[in-house]
Symmetry: C2
């Protein structure tokens, strides 16, 4: 079983409008409400990939009940940790672009976070995914403290939370290139991937959006990209990438296979408007077409 922690769950509201004009009053012509948060999206994609998923989330209030009722219908095993405050709302206004408004979310009490930690680590996960922001009131090293040598842990975080997680030597980190540069200072995707390994990650997959990804691992370094430019909604492509990586690690897939799958699955998220969904046909089509190249740097060629 793959355990996914959604530490800061959300209700995602999507508004479609004709054209967003600051200062105007807009009639919303379609409304969609959906359980969200990065961990939630990762769990949904894992479910679409056929994996058994256990999703842990702190949930309170009637909006928490709404979130739980929706997840219950999806076939994901939800461990709802009862807390006082409801989940935050995130509003996405769609015209030609997506304009997003993210509430900060509630502050968790120390005892509430302790209950979340217990729910994550018992029973012991085969693979653990730590994805997205931490709620207020929770220390920056909260992901770091959840990383155990005997649990394969994938971290998709940014800023100080990612920096702290690296010190706990996670199996894999999967930031995008901007997030990696943010904590490393500079460098291209390959340099960032190497830099994340030298900061403590067992492996590092750095995603570059439509340009694919770089994976730096103990078995080698690969650059991989989709076979063609794909249009669509990029929201959730990073979560699909994380899901594919977790699924591959759970099956102990060889890195080249895992990298191909990650690129195809991430690109397949563009085929759907909703974060947390992928186009399985598109994924199958792309899987054999991903362009992959092993990188041999100076050190490798020396050996």
């Amino acid at each position: 079983v793959i355990t996914v922690l959604c530490a800061n769950p959300a209700l995602d509201v999507t508004y479609r409008v004709d054209r967003l004009t600051p200062g105007d009053v807009h009639a919303v012509y379609s409304v969609q409400r959906r359980a969200g948060g990065k961990g939630t999206n990762v769990a949904r994609v894992l479910r679409q990939l056929g994996e058994a998923v256990r999703l842990v989330a702190p949930l309170g209030g009637t909006d928490g009940e709404r979130y739980a009722a929706e997840i219950a219908e999806s076939g994901i095993e939800l461990v709802a940790v009862p807390v006082g405050a409801p989940p935050r709302t995130s509003v996405c206004v769609l015209d030609e672009d997506a304009t997003v408004f993210n509430e900060a979310g509630p502050e968790l009490a120390a005892s509430e976070w302790d209950a979340v930690v217990d729910a994550v680590l018992q029973p012991r996960p085969d693979v653990l995914v730590l994805s997205g922001s931490l709620p207020a009131g929770v220390p920056t090293d909260a992901y770091a403290r959840l990383i155990r040598p005997d649990v394969v842990t994938v971290v998709d975080a940014k800023g100080p939370v990612l920096a702290a997680a690296l010190t706990a030597r996670p199996h894999l980190v999967a930031p995008n290139v901007a997030e990696a540069q943010d904590i490393l200072g500079a460098g291209d995707a390959a340099q960032c991937a190497a830099g994340l390994r030298s900061r403590g990650a067992g492996s590092a997959v750095v995603s570059c959006g439509p340009d694919g990804l770089v994976a730096a691992t103990s078995d080698g370094t690969w650059i991989a990209r989709p076979p063609r430019a794909l249009s669509g909604n990029p929201t959730g492509a990073g979560d699909a990438l994380t899901a594919a990586l977790a699924a591959g690690l759970a099956r102990a897939a060889p890195w080249p296979d895992l990298v191909r799958d990650a690129v195809a699955t991430s690109a397949a998220a563009l085929g759907r408007d909703t974060a947390g969904e992928i186009d399985l046909d598109l994924r199958a089509e792309l899987l054999g077409q991903v362009v992959i190249e092993e990188v041999r740097d100076a050190a490798d060629q020396h050996s």
Copy 2:
């Protein structure tokens, strides 16, 4: 007792952000949730003016309960008509400007609307305020059908709903100048006020935002404006105007007094960030300073 119908109640959510940029992801740094809808705001201001208020609203779901719980704390008598669907949400994103996203709201069944009509007319109101949009599924002449010769009725509506209401000869209509022009075709505020009377309104108050208002009545026509330019959030100024007019009619105030009060109360809404609230000190200060002028047109001077 003044009865206010809020036919399409809302939960108003206000997000403060640094600067709204279409296509960007925004961190929301403060969130306010509040029972809303124009009728709700009118009822709140009436309560601040010391009037006994009965607010009728169709309410369903947990968001309906949230709305009811909040109104219960305000001293307003709420008649919640149970319906299947929850109230709509309206999101206002505040930076320098206010950018608003209005959900359409749920469709009411015919039987649900019948229950609303019963709740509005029994017991018979002294003054009835019909303010804001109608929910989907309700015919355009729904306000018109609520207008009775023996009930002093104030209508703040627009478009076909206002046009239909005029045919039922309401005691007073109070659109803004753009809304009046929209149904009359053209004309300045004074011409619009006269036009609304000739279309069926007993009296017409046409508001011009910071420039005050024109009131055309059977006792005469007045132009009134605030003594000085006031800065602040204009959201809800129209609802404060409607509330002052209803309160004045309930007390059978002479038109010149009523007009002064309406201008002062509307301007006092600028002193508060939240729709449905007025600055009572500012209202008291402005009340004696409103600039009012009686208009004598050709017909009047002839008599």
